[in-house]
């Protein structure tokens, strides 16, 4: 079953998007691309008012509108696409726990200690594997990618946050890997081109 999704993000001008909104939007885009579903990104100034829950991003598929990563994952699953089907019960619980960790600690990305500790936990869990649950990416990978990539590529007042993440080389290469595999082959919505609009630096290297 093919689903052509339109993802709506809140964006008034190129550099006017909230950090957390951008991270969430990137996570959703990564997830949809990992599921091999075509997605187009639309920027609207009133996206958060259009959203049924008031939060961005949301996707518009056919007649339906679903917002936020959690419900979107459920919705895609109901349509027959899932990345975490192969996981056992214990692993699923673990995945949920890590997603909560990322949501609580990286969403605000203001307290550097929190970011540092979160990155340490993630780095330890990732180890030398390509993705968190070995060979195949799951929604956790999409979420982590969204947040870390946003921190790394958005110019903030100081580079301290970015530096903290860069301390963990396996997280860096993890982000690069996802960027290469899922974003670089599409010219229009490529992460590299969109981030070069968002920040002055282009990719991670």
């Amino acid at each position: 079953m093919s689903l052509a999704a339109e993802a709506f993000v809140s964006q008034i001008a190129d550099d006017q998007i909230l950090l957390s909104d951008h991270a969430s939007s990137l996570a959703v885009q990564a997830y949809l691309r990992m599921c091999n579903l075509p997605v187009q990104v639309a920027c609207r100034a009133n996206a958060e008012y259009m959203s049924p829950s008031g939060k961005v991003p949301f996707i518009h598929v056919g007649n339906q509108v679903v917002s936020e990563l959690g419900p979107i994952v459920q919705f895609i699953k109901a349509k027959g696409h899932s990345l975490s089907d192969g996981l056992g019960e214990v692993q699923k619980a673990e995945m949920k726990a890590y997603m909560e960790l990322v949501n609580n600690m990286l969403l605000t990305a203001e307290v550097y200690e929190d970011v540092s500790q979160c990155c340490q936990a993630l780095s330890q869990r990732l180890g030398t594997q390509p993705y968190f649950f070995n060979k195949q990416p799951t929604e956790l990978d999409a979420l982590v990618f969204g947040h870390l990539f946003t921190i790394l590529t958005t110019q903030l007042t100081s580079d301290e946050l970015g530096e903290k993440v860069k301390n963990y080389s396996n997280l860096l290469s993890f982000c690069r890997r996802i960027e290469q595999n899922y974003f670089e082959d599409h010219d229009k919505d490529s992460i590299t081109s969109s981030t070069s609009r968002l920040s002055k630096g282009s990719s991670l290297m």
Partner: protein, 479 residues
């Protein structure tokens, strides 16, 4: 009407039914029997003094204009007539509870033999009046509190505040009105308001917070209004099932517009007129004074009334409007026109004609989409009003009712502004919706009316929602 007292040296009673003079009320003064009788109508008089008694906070200079005409009267009937007109003008200011006129012969040293003094005895309105109502509407109840400060600063200024607290929405408004002294028809109004509404036919909720200033002035026989309005509009979906087209319009926007309206109204009444005509032309230009909305909007209303045989009235009306967006942005759902309903083309559901979004299950035609309004419309109506059959309650309650037979038609669509006017007219002429029927109309005061009609809709296009059979309507402006 008020009573005019006139004291005279003659025992002849006054007459003049137009001015509400009762022969019995004329006081007779004892006179010497040798005073000869005069026919007062032809008696030349000079109005020497005009007094106004009972002023409190009203400033003196305001009233000079209203009573100036009285001085020009040359005979007694003229004095009475001009005093009556002056009384009407004083009441029109909206600052007096009542006005009584007393005409008396002049007293004092400089009194002429044919001099009269005219005195207006007035009672000012209280400084603050309040009202409290409860209203019940479409699945909604509300309390309405009104406060009015008439004649606030002594020159007929008026401040009004209204607050409506409902089960669904809350609205309030503050309004300041100031007429030009001596020219009441030229006035200025400043308003601030917050109004919320729910529009189930579009699955839309709208909240407007706005400020407006307007000036009214007459030019010859027409009345003009110039207005600037700034509104902060907030649109939202009324239900989770709102269509995406409506969802896309959600959010906040600003509209800043200037508008001009011209009205010529020769009807004897706004509700159920018997004769006369109405022409109203309104244009609004948004975007040149700021804000997000940018458009030019024109609309007009024409109504003609003619009395026919046997106390019946033939009334025809025509409405039309055009919305032209300026610039790249498409028009906003809150600015477009809507058609259909008991006050518009009868026989169709409220605002349920014309362009709409896709329904939830288009292949089954279940759950019709949301009505999005249109950028151009026209609507026409023809009515024959007659008194109730057999005229029950004649002279009293029965006079508030009328039966009417009607024919309504109209169309609402979006125009492709690239094409020429011929294509536009063609588009407005195809797929015309129309209806006919009969019903009973009840007049409510001078402002509103209720209708209960039996309607037969025709020319129904797919997507229109109809209300054939009995339809009830209440409102102030009917097609």
């Amino acid at each position: 009407m008020g009573t005019v007292h006139a004291r005279s040296l003659d025992p002849l009673p006054m007459s003049g039914p137009d001015f509400g003079v009762h022969g019995d009320d004329a006081e007779l003064v004892e006179v010497e029997p040798e005073t000869k009788q005069e026919v007062l109508e032809n008696k030349d008089v000079v109005v020497q003094r005009v007094h106004i008694d009972g002023l409190g906070r009203t400033k003196d200079d305001l009233l000079g204009y209203e009573i100036a005409e009285v001085f020009t009267a040359t005979n007694l009937i003229d004095v009475m007539k001009k005093s009556h007109e002056a009384r009407e003008k004083l009441l029109r200011l909206g600052i007096f509870r009542q006005v009584e006129v007393v005409i008396d012969t002049s007293d004092g040293e400089d009194a002429l033999s044919n001099g009269v003094d005219v005195t207006f005895e007035v009672a000012e309105l209280r400084r603050l009046t309040g009202s409290y109502n409860t209203m019940v509407g479409n699945n909604e109840g509300s309390m309405v509190l009104g406060l009015k400060l008439p004649n606030m600063l002594g020159r007929a200024e008026k401040l009004t505040f209204q607050f409506s607290y409902g089960t669904k929405e809350t609205s309030y408004g503050l309004s300041f009105f100031k007429p030009q002294p001596g020219h009441f028809d030229r006035n200025l109004s400043i308003n601030m308001y917050k109004v919320s509404g729910q529009f189930p036919w579009s699955s839309l909720r709208e909240t407007d917070r706005g400020v407006s200033t307007e000036i009214n002035f007459p030019i010859w026989k027409t009345n003009h209004t110039l207005k600037w309005e700034g509104v902060w509009r907030e649109l939202g979906c009324l239900a989770r099932t709102a269509s995406f087209a409506v969802r896309e319009e959600s959010g906040h926007s600003l509209k800043s517009s200037i508008s001009h309206a011209m009205v010529i109204d020769t009807r004897n009444s706004a509700i159920l007129p018997r004769r006369g005509a109405l022409l109203k032309i309104n244009q609004e230009l948004a975007g040149y004074t700021g804000g997000d909305a940018s458009f030019l909007k024109e609309d007009f209303e024409i109504q003609l009334n003619k009395r026919l045989f046997w106390d019946s009235v033939l009334s025809t009306s025509l409405w039309g409007g055009l919305l032209v967006p300026i610039g790249d942005q498409p028009s906003c759902i809150a600015d477009r026109f809507y058609l259909g309903g008991p006050t518009s083309v009868r026989g169709f559901s409220m605002y349920s004609i014309g362009p709409q979004s896709e329904g939830l299950y288009p292949m089954f035609n279940i759950l019709l989409g949301d009505y999005l309004g249109g950028e151009a419309y026209w609507a026409g109506g023809m009515h024959l009003y007659t008194p109730l059959p057999f005229r029950p309650g004649r002279g009293g309650f029965g006079d508030l009712f009328r039966t009417h037979f009607f024919l309504n038609a109209g169309n609402l669509c979006n125009l492709n502004y690239g094409e020429g006017p011929r294509a536009h007219l063609q588009k407005l002429a195809e797929c015309i919706r129309w209806s006919y029927g009969a019903g009973i109309v009840l007049r409510l005061g001078n402002i509103a009316r209720l209708e209960l009609n039996y309607c037969i809709p025709m020319g129904v296009q797919s997507g229109d929602r109809i209300c054939d059979g009995v339809q009830f309507g209440a409102g102030i402006r009917f097609l």
